[in-house]
Amino acid sequence: MENCKEDYKIQSFDLETQNLLKTALKEPSTVDLEKVSNVIVDQSLKDQVFSKEAGRICYTIVQAEAKHNNGNVFRRNLLNRLQQEFVAREDTRLRSLQEWVCFVTFICNVFDYLKVNNMPMVALVHPVFDCMLRLAQPDSLNNEEEVDCLVLQLHRIGDQLEKMDGQKMDELFYLLRDGFLLQEGLSSMARLLLLEILEFRAGGWMLSDTAQKYYYSEVTD
């Protein structure tokens, strides 16, 4: 796989680990898949670029393992790690905002890519929603980093999440409207991001042409 690096964004790993990952993709039964999943999870929590696309490499390894020997060691360990990190998310957020944001990005990416019979993993639906709801809390809305993460994930997986639990999505958007309208001290950037996501969802998870023009074209002063 010559374009392996670009596809899976593994440039940030050291060479030894890169080789480990490449082998895992081709011959999963020859490597310690538990170790591989830990390597991927650990890196996802540190590296924002990687966390945005780590789901894809996870999916490929899961498929490869299932095809080679019908195993699911990798997926089992990945989900266990994700679950552990999820349980500890409040502490993570207090310790490091960046790690928290990376975690949310990663779990949403896994939700996006790791499908089961072409359906999203039901087990991840509520955890992902819990993360979104947390990001919609007043203290998080005050951090542009967290608002940015929230809207990015909603752009990527909002429609899928809504299909899995529309009521929860409604609950989330009540919070977002409240935040947009009432939260004092919200930065203009945060308000812009929130307004855009409100319009995005209202438009059926896409922007109208005019809204697209408003938010995405260059403004001449």
Partner: protein
Amino acid sequence: MSFRHKSRRTDADYNGDENRNRGPLKRYNYWKRVADGSMRSNEDMDSTSDLKKSNVNHRRTDIRPVSEGPVPRCMDWEREVETDEMCSSVCCDMQRYRRRTLATEFGPREQKNSSGSSDSRDSPVPGEVMEEDEEVLMRRQKQITYGKNTLAYDRYIKEVPKHLRQPGVHPKTPNKFKKYSRRSWDQQIKLWKVKIHAWDPPSPGGQYEVDLDDVMDIELDFPELDSDSSAQPPKVSKASSSQAVSSLSSLGIFEGNY
């Protein structure tokens, strides 16, 4: 629009910090420049409908609480995913089986390998009631999966392609959609697994060994449509076990699909 298409589009907009530099939200640059004062005044916003104002006031006391604390929704994500996976594959199987039922009922010419009415392949007897209880199907599927997740089964399917299977000689997966009593089904599974053992990888000691303990004290039970378990079936002793296996096959217990 498919999910993939949508996410590709949004990925292009949002993928990575490099896009941030190109400014997907172009308005941001404008806002940054005017952030210090020349934004639209609040008066403009307030001049919109009274309805909005009253909603705002109402909302102020109506902030929704969200569940506190990192509480996991379920015990084990992986177990939940595995169960879901089995559930949806059972559903797929059921749809496929139903389609075959319809094909049998309404168009024998639609069957691919029809060899007459005595073909006990997958096609069910038209009008036959099929097992639809989800709990039962899941349990049966789990038993089948355990049997198939073996080296012996792997070797078996590699050695004998399905179209070359001889009924009675080659093990055939019990058909989970047919109505059987619990006991009948469990025995079919047991016997099926015993037959698969014939393809066990050779042990250091000897050749292909069938573990005769598996066939000890098999209670013969004929396929039933109801769960009548009051009948006393004859017991089979160890000595005639191998005979029992082949004679059971000839009884046609192993109907069903792979």
